[in-house]
Amino acid sequence: MSSYHFVPAQWLPKTNWKTAGLLVPSLLLCSVVSAAPRRQEQHFKVAAHPVITIHNPNGLITVKAWTKAEVMIISTPASDRIEVDAEQMGNRVDVSTRELSDSVAPDDMRADFQINVPEDAELQIHNDAGNVSVANVLGDMNVETVAAGVDLEDAAGYLSVKTVGGSFTCIRCAGRIEASSISGNFRLLDLRSYHVWAQTSSGNILFNGEFLPNGTYSLKNYSGVIEVRFSPGDSFDLSATSLKGKVNNEAKLTPSPHQRHFMPRWGNALFGTFNEGRAKIEMTSFDGTINILKRD
């Protein structure tokens, strides 16, 4: 809608050129301001362990924990053709982006979010494109994307991440991690998780974290590289199999005293125990390379 429609036509002949010279840029500025993204800030008081759900088709979602018992949502839609709804149902806050007309261009279906939550909050985030970034949230988390990358820092709880092509980075995460993708790369750094299950088809998987006693670590891909880093003090039982690829190992493994492995009839495989074998590591690839390397 053009802002010129707001100027009565009969005013212009009576206005001198100097006034018009000031008026026109002002109107243009108003036009620009009215089309600018409408930043919206909302606050919701919540009790312990609140649940926050976010459904957004495209955009940057940044979630951070804070010490207040409330949820703050700052949303910035890319156009006035969409609207962000946020409503509270008990101890749950639902946030969603919806279109205001039937003919919204895909580029207009974008909203960015900056959200603060209590650190024990549970998050359910669905964001197709853009990026999802979460820091210091200790509650359970379920993140699903298509092309959007997912970055988690200092998270805990039960972390479930599913992407199609988006990458996944998890730094200093604890608890239980389950991640799956088709072409996304995984970077699991400085973890303190007792259960890690990561599966990507064509992506790479890098695991550089602690192998906790009684922890289980399952890393699987189709192609690409699976790489784990270990320290001299680590203790694990290891199984690495690549059907058509290579297995490179720098760990001095001994035959496992805990369980008897049967050598598979297919592919390249490596079994053994490092130190006492307290954690269990399983790596499987179809034609990718598996690297078991010393930590720098």
């Binding site: 092509g165 059907l243 009839r265």
Partner: protein, 230 residues
Amino acid sequence: MATITCREFLNYLEPWMEGERPPDAHAHAHVRTCSHCSSIINDLEMIHSEARSWSVSEQDAPERVWISLRAQLEQEGLIQETIPASEDRAQAAAPRTGWFAGLFPRLPRPVLAGAYLAALVAVAFALSGPVNKRVNEARWLKGTQISTSPLSAQLNFAEQNSNSYVTRSNPVVAASLHQNLAIVDNYIALCEKSVSEDPQNEVARDYLFEAYQQKADLLTQLTERGENVQ
């Protein structure tokens, strides 16, 4: 017409495979209408014909089996390689009882019987190994194809439908879904090739089924997003 159950038909299965057809018309009707039982009969007939073709091509044990057996018995002192001259004469006078008896002239009968039995087992094992391997591979391949063919057809059908859905959704999302669908299709083709080359390869089969699962998930997402934008 009342028919019989699969459990009841099992009573007829053994004579059926021997070529005997029961007079009970219900049994015939059951085979015609029950895909499960007719599939079992087809499988058993395939195994039977496969085994028969192998046994025709290798009726006698290979000579190396007998040479190896003799060498083993000689090494263990159960037979002697040379025959004393006196006995050689007596043996020449005696009627020939066949090449096998001549091979082990001084062997006690129980030992001979045991060795013969061992040889039979060895021959049977040598013959049955390749047969079992080929039959097993054929069964594995057939089993995999039976389970994956309808799945593959359904997924291809769903893929054709989903292509029209996603054209109006976010181009980045649509591109990602199609790109990853191509990746999964490529993996399916590679896994199918591996399975057909080595039907008993459990790892390849697991990857194949996982790739199908991923394709189904992707098509679901394509369809959902298409419906959302329509």
